[in-house]
Amino acid sequence: MSPEIIRLIYEATLDTLAMVATAMVFATLLGLPVGLFLATSRRGELLAAPLVNRLLGLVINATRSTPFIILVVAIIPLTRLIAGTSIGTRAAIVPLTVAAAPFIARVVEAAIREVDHGLIEAVRAMGASPLQIIAKVLLPEAKPAIVMALTLTVVSLIGYSAMVGAVGGGGLGDLGIRYGYQRFMPDVMAAVVVVLIILVQGVQTIGDLIAKRVNKRARQV
């Protein structure tokens, strides 16, 4: 492989990382509160708002059932509005965020619902307000599960980011398609796949490590 190709792979990797990281930050900022709300707003729950809960659920399901590649195209006007362009790495962040936020909301919801109801009752008996219950019980107790959920999201985003290459987003997917596929350079394709595997592996390992660290449930005596 020529040094030039290696440089291309290196730059594409940085692009992918930048896209995934930025999209991840925005998606978490959006998805985490929504997931928290979903988990606590059914009838009889802390922030009971059953109607809003159901509406939000519908929107999330709709977003999640749209295939990513179609979502990318469908929201081009929105992408242009936010990023000022619909092509390139910067533009790709918008659809990635839009796809990841509902996903995060659902996995966070599931993580929060796993928290033992007895704990909520115990802190209610202490005179805690709903916000105190969320801040002092739900989030800390769900932390290991949330870390695992976010790790899962990063891994999915890495996969999605390869797809935005198809519509002019940069990164490894773009490189793989333009060089590996369109210019018949199977070694580039192979290199791209290898880098992606290493990325995913690395993210999963780091996520597992953090989850293990914040999980106090399974400590040895």
Binding site: E121, S129, E141, K216, R217
Partner: protein, 368 residues
């Protein structure tokens, strides 16, 4: 001694509140509305109960009797359908959620499954109610450390619940419940998940808290042994109603309701062993045979060597068939089932003798 303090309140101000009970249930009912396709459930029916300041009331009942609902009414985790509940002179059924939060800080609660936060250390768990109440870091530290000493967990300060035994977890639960210096402690089956030995140490801790801190304790349980060990008064809950309520010793020695008697059956040696029960008849056989007596020992009579006196004074052979001797609410109490010769003509004398000692003796029947 854990004598009931009753109206001898700890409140030294001498005001009217000194004689006011700490908790009053007044005609309380709770109906859970019908769920789709189901029927409405009447969990509690016209409950009237009082818990005196500084006393321990034990509520005993089987699962489904309404105990959990009853205890959760006291801190407003459940709302009654009818009736009122007064805690320390305030009608908590009229309070909104915000006022209830304030009241809850003066009511500690311990749970069967401890309900400790796995993400917090022992210190952090005990500190939680103080954080919720908005106390400063320094205040929290000054309050938590002595509490950990009180429950004997100073050396586990920085451990996580997963590293503790069941008994240790419940000690953390108790320290946590005491953090905000409550006047009332609610104990929701606090020892039901513990082994017998640990149960005793937790009960002794609760009794100590009651006598040293003057805390009023309302405890629910399905175990008579728990009641007999530390409660002053007991209420028996059956199908949502209080079927019997009174001084623990009285209820143990003279249960009036079948539900109470069945709770006590294995506890006080009242149940007859099967090998006797199966052979028991109503009338004496023409020759030989034994009359089966149940003698209940309590108070002074419990310390008299009755059986050997019977043998010496009346020359009858006493055959011990079953029995138990222990203490209830700190007083000696025992039951003995004995067989005496049925046709010796001295049964009446024996009965008189026992009655003079102030012991209850009852002929249950005869065996051949």
């Amino acid at each position: 001694m854990n004598a009931p303090l009753g109206s001898l309140a700890l409140n030294s101000s001498g005001s009217a509140t000194a004689v006011q009970p700490m908790i009053v249930f007044d005609g309380v009912g709770k109906i859970y509305p019908a769920r789709r396709g189901g029927l409405a459930v009447k969990a509690l029916d016209n409950i009237s109960l009082t818990v005196a300041r500084g006393s321990i009331l034990g509520v005993i009942g089987r699962s489904g009797a309404g105990k959990s609902t009853l205890i959760r009414l006291v801190n407003g985790l459940e709302k009654p359908s009818t009736g009122r509940i007064n805690v320390d002179g305030r009608d908590i059924t009229r309070l909104g959620e915000k006022d209830l939060r304030q009241i809850r800080r003066s009511i500690g609660m311990v749970f069967q499954h401890f309900n400790l936060l796995s993400s917090r250390t022992v210190f952090g768990n005990v500190a939680l109610p103080l954080e919720i109440a908005g106390r400063s870091k320094a205040e929290i530290k000054a309050r938590v450390e002595p509490l950990l000493a009180l429950v004997g967990l100073t050396d586990k300060r920085d451990r996580y619940p997963a590293e503790l035994s069941g008994g240790q977890k419940q000690r953390v639960g108790i320290a946590r419940a005491l953090a905000t210096e409550p006047k009332v402690l609610l104990s929701d089956e606090a020892t039901s998940a513990l082994d017998p030995e640990t149960t005793l140490s937790i009960l002794d801790l609760l009794a100590r808290i009651n006598s040293e801190l003057g805390l009023t304790i309302l405890m629910i349980t399905h175990e008579m042994a728990v009641i007999r060990r530390i409660a002053h008064r007991v209420a028996v809950l059956d199908q949502g109603r209080v079927v019997e309520c009174g001084d623990v010793f009285d209820v143990f020695t003279h249960p009036r309701h079948p539900a109470t008697a069945s709770f006590l059956a294995n506890e006080t040696g009242r149940a007859l062993p099967r090998f006797i029960a199966e052979r028991l008849r109503d009338s004496a056989p023409p020759v030989g045979g034994q009359a089966v007596f149940r003698i209940v020992f309590q108070g002074i009579g419990a310390e008299t060597p009755v059986l050997s006196q019977l043998t010496r004074q009346f020359g009858v052979d006493v055959n011990i068939l079953a029995g138990s001797a222990d203490e209830v609410a700190g007083r000696p109490f025992g039951t003995l089932v004995v067989g005496l010769p049925a046709n010796s003509g001295r049964l009446a004398l024996v009965q008189n003798f026992l009655a003079e000692l102030g012991l209850e003796a009852e002929v249950l029947g005869y065996v051949a």
